[in-house]
Symmetry: C2
């Protein structure tokens, strides 16, 4: 494990006082922070709309951000890319750290736990969601991180693989360009921020609607997010669309299907799946399934 | 224009007596024959399930089949491929003709008109649906062909581009792998067999759901057909699925959208689109939108 720029910076300062502005309570008493699922390839050179949105919600100039590149095969490269972006936006250099953990042992390191305790923003990079879940899933670090998010103290964002891993369940692998069969997706446990929702990314860009429809045959609610597009999900389950493309809601609550796990290669019937395509500025309530 | 094997064969015999077995009447008095939209790449070497289904509906051994390769860039090659297949199934060699018309003038040739008058089965090959519609659209040949189909005297099938062209309207061109915008599909007039339905083909294989969703923003009912899969649509508007993959029904009747033609490149909102994925053996009524 390595923490950049230095472990010594952990816990310093008063960032704990700056709760992310996105924190709010809904009627059901949830005070969790916003979770931002990003479809990958978010703009890093122009207006940086999505990254700036995360940064603002995490506290802006007063933010304390931890970048976790555990999904990436090149964490030593990708971690600093995001770190520099958030510093350029205005966060103090010693308040943006890269937490480069590569196995579950790293995730038990007291220094890592200490780092997360003071964060107001967590950013999961892209890469491979299976790797990310293998490194972090079920660790004490994840428990603390989720606890802090549930308390509304840290905004959580993930891009690409990092977005997929935000769900309690995620598409670990999948195919496109085939007739839909149960075998074209593999669903595994994610990091457990978003309950009951499966998130897919690079969505229309990589033609993933069919794999998400296959996933919805097993789980009722799925969200597909295009590149340079994000779904910011608040504590009241309202989803707000940010960025250049669309967020696709696949609503399987009225679904009828003859899918069985027995024959993974056999095309199946799916009836009454409802779709919603949402462009930037749209707000949609995941509980009521209605436009806000 | 050329007609194979010979124009002399036109009008010979008693094929007129053999109405396709698929012809039937529904409660609204329609006696039209079945139209079979095939998603392309139909099996030509194994069981030939789809081609055999068309052949049976066209009268089997007593069929009089006209193959129209007008969509194809290599009509002199693709026409005889289908001709030989139907002869191998049992139709007399002089009762399977290739109608190789390449422009609207060819479609006015009396010999072509005479040929169609006695057909019990018409098969449109793949290629380019725009070329097919440009050659045949609005011609006297098409009027006679459609009249004969409406009277229940000739079963009509089209594969790939031939399937797209069966609609009153068709997707002439489209893209995949982009966020959905109004600009990703171009809709033009088809050959006018299937009213109110836009047909797309090579469907999941070429990731075309988004372009069909975009088309549905303009027209309420769309059908996407996978490769080696067919939708046989009867006179009572019941669609039956045949073959290896799935037929996807995109039902936009309850759709709400902010699509405008003004900004073709801007992602749009689509709410409450309903999807049905149907595997082989499924029967679905396009009028009631219910599984039969």
């Amino acid at each position: 494990m390595s923490i950049h720029p230095s472990v010594a910076a952990i816990g310093a300062g008063d960032v704990e006082l700056h709760q992310p502005p996105s924190t709010k309570r809904d009627g059901r008493g949830s005070s969790r922070a916003v979770a931002i699922a990003i479809g990958g390839a978010e703009d890093k050179e122009g207006d940086k709309t999505i990254l700036r949105d995360f940064w603002q919600r995490a506290g802006g100039e007063h933010s304390d951000i931890v970048v976790i590149p555990a999904a990436s095969g090149i964490p030593e490269t990708i971690g600093p890319v995001y770190r520099n972006l958030f510093i350029e936006m205005g966060t103090a250099a010693d308040a943006v750290r890269v937490l480069d953990i590569r196995n579950p042992f790293d995730a038990c390191n007291p220094a890592a736990l200490e780092l997360v305790k003071h964060s107001t923003g967590i950013y999961f990079t892209g890469g491979d969601q299976e790797r990310l879940a293998e490194v972090l899933g079920g660790t004490e670090l994840m428990q603390q991180l989720r606890q802090r998010w549930l308390q509304g103290k840290t905004t959580v964002a993930g891009t690409s693989a990092g977005a997929s891993a935000l769900g309690h369940q995620m598409i670990a692998r999948g195919y496109s360009g085939e007739s839909p069969t149960p075998g074209i997706v593999t669903v595994k446990a994610g990091l457990g921020f978003l309950a009951g929702v499966i998130v897919d990314q690079h969505f229309h860009n990589r033609n993933r609607l069919i794999r998400l429809l296959t996933a919805v045959a097993h789980r009722p609610d799925c969200i597909g997010i295009d590149e340079d597009t994000a779904a910011a999900i608040g504590p009241d389950d309202t989803l707000e669309v940010i960025g250049a493309g669309t967020v696709t809601i696949v609503d399987g609550r009225t679904l009828r299907s003859n899918v069985t796990e027995v024959d993974l290669d056999r095309p199946f019937n799916l009836h009454d799946v409802k779709l919603h395509l949402l462009a930037a500025g749209s707000r949609f309530c995941l509980t009521t399934r209605a436009v806000v």
